[in-house]
Amino acid sequence: MLVLEKNALSEEIESLVNQFGKDRSALLQILQAIQRKHKHISDFAQQEVARMMDIHPVEVNSVISFYSFLYSEPKGRNIVRLCQTISCDMLGKEKIEEAVQRELGITFGQTTKDKRITLEYTNCLGMCDQGPAMLVNEKVYTKLDPETAINILNSIK
């Protein structure tokens, strides 16, 4: 990372700490904000959070590793999560799975070369009456068929 980028990230984290507070109870909110913007929480970001909140960096890392929506490794600009739970499975999740993998040329767990999309599985999204369901970042899409799923993926930047 360039020195300038590091400075910018430090400033950003500082303003998050000012916004949410230095209490430990603000940690998850701060990590979520970094995750939302940068799609992962880098080692440097973790150290800065730890330093500014007076906690050990290992603690920050252990919180990140617990939550499936927080990542310490870089991901794509968009995170696509397909529901793999049984109700969606019965409504044709496998067809969506095959279609998106073929279209993007990657499998679940991977990121496209241009860093546009990371594919992940997720558990029940609370849309079981309208499956198959998937999240694109925080947006939810329901009643998918292979064609609409691919149109959605092709429309994101």
């Binding site: 998850l28 919180v63 049984i86 558990n123």
Partner: protein
């Protein structure tokens, strides 16, 4: 999310989906006073809708009695049990009921702060919920001296989860709010005494809180008229799987599985999984059983499987879920779920002995008693019920559940 809202419009039901005017419940509560609220709530027999079924009035009384200058109301909107989506409907279509339930709880126990813990998967609702809170502030249903009641100050903020099913367990939820890994704590102490940041905290499910305004307006006796002796009122059921009309249904407790199947137009039903992945799987011979605390208790997830489904595949889906979602803190659950999944795979590959299967059912029973929290205590339920109730399909001569299933 307009499309989701409109899709589900025009609901009706005995309690939650009955007529309600915004603000009515809080107004009534402030007129009644704390004692009467608790009295009415006790009279209603309302039990927690999050799964465990703890009497709501008792929970509120315990925390009302706690001596502390700071108390919290937490609305558990972590809705992660596979097949459950009723809280989504309440939050999107009936936010007034949920938030007013929290305000009434705050008034009753003497809390100034409410927190809605919204699962990360529901972040798309955040904006509309925040906007709704703003409206409540404008109407003085939140803020200082609410509806003119001197010294009743209460506000609500929303905190997001980050994709961990176990955070729905109330002590894990509190850990998460405090900025830690969402690992369940030992209980006691219970949150009503030692909750968020060590303060007395009421954690209630979305549906539990949403029932309260209706109970205060129409009375505990009215609520009791619905349902059965031990299971008063109505319940929201999230119905998915093989049926013509999936969705959220408000039904009186005491409805039988058969009645429900008819209502949702399910045909050729072979199995009904009640209570999500942590629930039990009922075969046809048990469809006469009724939904309620005295028979089939549930948080409301109903998943329907018709004759064409492979029950071993269903079980595998559930066991994978638990292996992924176990927090790993205690051995029976961490190792146990992996072993149960392994067993399902062995059955799939026709590579097992019955001695081995029986040992694993025994392991499941050990997990039910030895696990630290409800996740590990209930994860063996599907394993045991599916292998026992569908043994002909899975182990029988047709062996449909094997190899090419």
């Amino acid at each position: 999310m307009e499309s989701i809202k409109t899709l589900n419009k025009k609901r009706s039901g005995p309690v939650l989906f009955s007529e309600y005017k915004q603000g009515e419940g809080v107004k009534k509560a402030l007129e009644m006073g704390r004692e009467n609220i608790l009295f009415e709530l006790k009279g209603s027999g309302l039990k927690g809708r999050g799964g465990a079924g703890f009497p709501t009035a008792t929970k509120w009384m315990l925390s009302a009695a706690s001596n502390s200058d700071k108390k919290f109301i937490v609305c558990n909107a972590d809705e992660g049990e596979p097949g459950t989506f009723k809280d989504r409907v309440l939050l999107l279509e009936y936010p007034e009921l949920v938030f007013e339930g929290m305000i009434i709880a705050g008034y009753t126990i003497g809390a100034k702060n409410g927190i809605l813990y919204l699962r990360g998967e529901y972040e798309y609702m955040l904006k509309s919920l925040e906007d709704y809170l703003e409206l409540l502030r404008k109407d003085n249903l939140l803020g200082i001296n609410i509806l003119g009641k001197k010294d009743f100050n209460f506000d609500i903020n929303i905190r997001l989860g980050s994709g961990a099913y176990v955070c729905g367990e109330e002590t894990a939820l509190i850990e998460s709010l405090e900025g830690y890994r969402g690992e369940p704590r030992n209980r006691p102490p219970y949150p009503v005494n030692t909750g968020y940041l060590g303060h007395p905290t009421v954690v209630n499910n979305v549906e539990t809180l949403a029932s309260v305004p209706h109970i205060l307006i129409k009375g505990g006796d009215w609520f009791r008229k619905h349902g059965t002796d031990k299971s008063t009122g109505s319940k929201l059921f999230s119905v998915s799987g093989d049926c013509e009309k999936p969705g959220v249904y408000e039904l009186s407790w005491g409805t039988s599985i058969n009645e429900l199947l008819e209502l949702v137009e399910a045909k050729n039903t072979k199995a009904v999984q009640v209570g999500g992945a942590s629930g039990t799987c009922l075969p046809k011979s048990q469809f006469h059983r009724v939904l309620g605390y005295e028979d089939v208790a549930t948080g409301g997830s109903i998943m329907i499987f018709n004759e064409s489904r492979n029950m071993l595949k269903v079980l595998k889906n559930f066991m994978k879920f638990f292996v992924e979602e176990s927090c790993g803190q205690c051995t029976p659950c961490r190792i146990g779920n992996t072993k149960l999944l392994e067993a399902v795979e062995k059955i799939e590959n026709d590579d097992f002995t019955f001695l081995y299967i029986n040992n694993l059912k025994e392991l499941g029973r050990t997990m039910q008693v030895a696990s630290k929290c409800g996740l590990g205590q209930s994860s063996p339920n599907s394993f045991i019920s599916i292998l026992e109730n569908f043994k002909d399909e899975i182990f029988g001569s047709k062996g449909k559940g094997r190899k090419n299933g």
